[in-house]
Symmetry: D2
Subunit: 340 residues, 4 copies
Amino acid sequence: MEKLTIGIIGAGRIGRMHAENIVYIPNVKIKTISDLFIENAKLWAEQIGIQNVTTNYQDILNDPEIDAIFICSPTSTHGSIIKEAARAGKHIFCEKPVSFSTEETKEALEVVKEAGVKLQVGFNRRFDPNFKKVHDTVKEGKVGEPHILKITSRDPEPPPAEYIKNSGGLFFDMAIHDYDMARYVIGSEVEEVYVQGVNLVDPIFEELGDIDTAMTILKFENGAIGVIDNSRKAVYGYDQRLEVFGSKGSVTAQNEHPTNVEISTKDGVYKDKLKHFFLDRYKDAYMIETHAFIDSILNDKPLVCIGNDGLQAELIAKAARESFETGKPIKLIREEYSLL
Amino acid sequence: MEKLTIGIIGAGRIGRMHAENIVYIPNVKIKTISDLFIENAKLWAEQIGIQNVTTNYQDILNDPEIDAIFICSPTSTHGSIIKEAARAGKHIFCEKPVSFSTEETKEALEVVKEAGVKLQVGFNRRFDPNFKKVHDTVKEGKVGEPHILKITSRDPEPPPAEYIKNSGGLFFDMAIHDYDMARYVIGSEVEEVYVQGVNLVDPIFEELGDIDTAMTILKFENGAIGVIDNSRKAVYGYDQRLEVFGSKGSVTAQNEHPTNVEISTKDGVYKDKLKHFFLDRYKDAYMIETHAFIDSILNDKPLVCIGNDGLQAELIAKAARESFETGKPIKLIREEYSLL
Amino acid sequence: MEKLTIGIIGAGRIGRMHAENIVYIPNVKIKTISDLFIENAKLWAEQIGIQNVTTNYQDILNDPEIDAIFICSPTSTHGSIIKEAARAGKHIFCEKPVSFSTEETKEALEVVKEAGVKLQVGFNRRFDPNFKKVHDTVKEGKVGEPHILKITSRDPEPPPAEYIKNSGGLFFDMAIHDYDMARYVIGSEVEEVYVQGVNLVDPIFEELGDIDTAMTILKFENGAIGVIDNSRKAVYGYDQRLEVFGSKGSVTAQNEHPTNVEISTKDGVYKDKLKHFFLDRYKDAYMIETHAFIDSILNDKPLVCIGNDGLQAELIAKAARESFETGKPIKLIREEYSLL
Amino acid sequence: MEKLTIGIIGAGRIGRMHAENIVYIPNVKIKTISDLFIENAKLWAEQIGIQNVTTNYQDILNDPEIDAIFICSPTSTHGSIIKEAARAGKHIFCEKPVSFSTEETKEALEVVKEAGVKLQVGFNRRFDPNFKKVHDTVKEGKVGEPHILKITSRDPEPPPAEYIKNSGGLFFDMAIHDYDMARYVIGSEVEEVYVQGVNLVDPIFEELGDIDTAMTILKFENGAIGVIDNSRKAVYGYDQRLEVFGSKGSVTAQNEHPTNVEISTKDGVYKDKLKHFFLDRYKDAYMIETHAFIDSILNDKPLVCIGNDGLQAELIAKAARESFETGKPIKLIREEYSLL
């Protein structure tokens, strides 16, 4: 394939970011963007040179000129759009999670498999240069057999109540990124999950049946053990760290700061707090992720993050929720869609 | 009290280190040191100016001139020596753990309480300037209410099989330090414990009914949650880190390196691996710990680390062992010896 | 002004980088790019949507639709193009240095002054977020009165002989950036210059009458003293550091690495060497610099880096060269074009 | 030699520190300490077990039991005491500088040479583990041929006026340590010196004919160039850094902080300011220095820091003073006492 024509479904914050990353990639054009409230995005779309806007995403799926789509609509719509798009022969980039129900996800993956289209799931952090280097270091055996995984993942501030309500909860909305990272860097599937979760940040989470602070313990099939700690509120910024410890050493990725400037006075040494949030911290990762998807289609290369990766992360999130609700460790029942 | 006369029971590595730290403190003298194999220590004892050596620790307990003792003998002897020493009216510094059985520990604490002597338990890390600053920062409220605790605690290499056999296992020998640190920095008691433990370093641990790699999840009474990861083998040195995350921020203590020198070449940037092990890493902490004990006796100040602290850490270790054996979270039954 | 039309003179590495940064700024378009060897750049120009290409830069200056130009041609042409462009009423962004002769620079600035157009000199490092924060910290008085300035500025590898020949030498080509930074962060003019310069990297420099390793000592009018060390070859990457020490403290900007990943093994702790060179290290700075120039024209805001800044840096470079040649400290004769 | 008996001349801050470091070294005893005001030190001397105190240092030199002496009296007395002690056959540890006059120093070295005793000069920083590692790294060729040296050396606060008056001035009192470090890590002699010095911290320095802020540029015989910046007042602590840059890389030693604890809040990231001053920062270095001197005598090993090192540093200090006074670079006239 020499040229690629793209449609984007959803013109919210993430849809626009993807559009802006795509718009100047050589040999690629965004033909259409859809959104229920597309009026709000019309001026913006025109400025960055997108030809058509529509309220109906079917216009994109029915357009034979469009080769690939980005699904940036609410999670509740992902499953059905994936199926329709796959049947229409479009390659698919879908934001995480694929769905809130592993059954729905599996159905969608079946259709994708039959259609033979490509499906990339939006686990952007795999494309972060720091985290990718941790992954590569482990894969190259530089730290030996992995024994212990530690992920720190804390948001700078809680989302609005409205968002929490439809988010799927901490496990499906927030920790799911970390569950994917865990599989990605350890290179082994999760066998058992235990969660200790609490409400410490804001009572709104409890009112909505959610939690705001959690620790997930993972046992991997290769024997390694891992821990992920999540909080909805780190006042010093977006805290995103990663460590893999193994038989021959350890590898760590630290946080990023807006500048590295240090000020020393009689009161101590000061530096900037962390980069504020994901659009800032993972700016490069989002860019690289989009290029990788397009490169995979244009040059028929394998994807880094496939439908099965979406499913596995959801299986872990589901077990995490169950562990939280029962107070017990939960064994995962393995299901794989390895052909995807 | 103006002058202090001390006896040391046990002339192994730790006993000698305490002796060398004590020997030059003004107004303090070591009168006697005992060890079953005291012949090996005779020359050393003479060189640092200890007056008497004996194979019988009773010689120390029966000496009316001796005000305080350091118990540095094997753990299996701690309980009975504490009781005898307390009844003989000696102030007691006892290496951790107080015993391998919380029943035995409680008995010993009862006797100490009745005798009205001071008992300091050797949780040396409380006196490490880095960890103490973490504790003080949390206590002063600078990070708000504590939400998440993270402790990394990895030895540079496994002990010999002979040591493992009599060590009490990973929970009583190694993690017990971290359990104490958890209580110390969070300032709240542990309510529930869950452990994920594995054998990855050396099959000898499994053969001896022990493990070498573990993760302990703690739930505290104040709502905070914590995780401790332990390994018996970190090839890059003695990995000792601490983090408390709270509603107003976080505080971390990092590892220490022999030097801070960085070498930059075409291949990258290199620095020293970590300080090798506890005598090196906690050299200052051991010194400060000893001064604190002596200061407490001479000037009747409160102790930083009392018998009850020893008991609480053992209760956690016991629950950790039970969680490891049953695969379930274990609730702690609270028992306290607050008067000690 | 609502829309801006731009012409670019010179389609080499720097000209193309500016073009790519400009091309997607809203309300700005690049109409024409000129280069003596424009054939090589034709395909690239088409891809990024530049309308016209030409071998003759006069086509740009004569085009009444063009509001502003970027001068990215060889330094020997800067002076005359500035004068022609100013007389044609174009706003000017000119790469550093303005010329190799302070006389020529002063003539150009006179013409710019008369024409009343804006002239920004391409000292991109002023726009680097780290260095800007150092500047702001000093300006806000957080480190008190500045006493000592230290700049480290080392290239990863020497340029080709052909480049060295026409570069103006280490003082005019390389250190001039640091001379500007010195004035920018200290906020005072240079009074005296002393240089110790040597040939240690490659004999080619000596053959061409140049040096490859230098230390410049600056005395500022406000009493502060500074040192800049330059080398043409730092095998570990592009070494760019800055420190201002004052009566109330100090502020430092450190190097940047491609990732912050650390790998710990039995041999030590490793991390990436530095970002490789200026297009990588100052990527954001170049972007911000271009936006600032355009913002200044569209919204009539003051420039951060004016013609006089170009002149002052050249006066220092000239004195540095003289000090190197005579082995003596050189007093600067103050000349200013403060209206520019 | 199996046992060593030592006398200490001078019971001020430095004399006492050396005594406390020596007192517990096996096979070494301090027999006598002298001081004009020995009354003030009597109680302290008794407590640490020094047998005799005297107001007359001749008592030490005339005591045939004493093998070696530490000269910790005012600098003005060093030269004559060295000569007397050497003639009396004592090995000598002398605090820096040997004298304020290179003529006097050379005379003293002549006598030492004839007497065949050992003379160690108290450049304690050579024994700092960080700086020693920089030295070793350079010596092992890991950074290739050295090109650039950078030393930062700033005191936390100015000494009292009384001290300044008798200190020999910034070059002989403070920078002399850095001049020695320069020779030590570069492994080549200094050929030329240029100084830019100013009064910015306190007018008292100017009143006493001294300065408080200086930059010394060094040219070495091997072609390398170096810079040392000194200030009498760094409000954030004792700033002591070192960097050697060479053909194959660079090596740096950073500052030390009392703890490595970092506190992150909504306002940024904070850590401790630097260790406060030399007794704190170089505590280990002083200890190692003393052991090295004693080891050299007992086991007839070569010294790390000999009389000639004292002389060379003074020659540089003298040239630095001359450069400051004349405003010109000064060539050093090489004189060496290599046999010492």
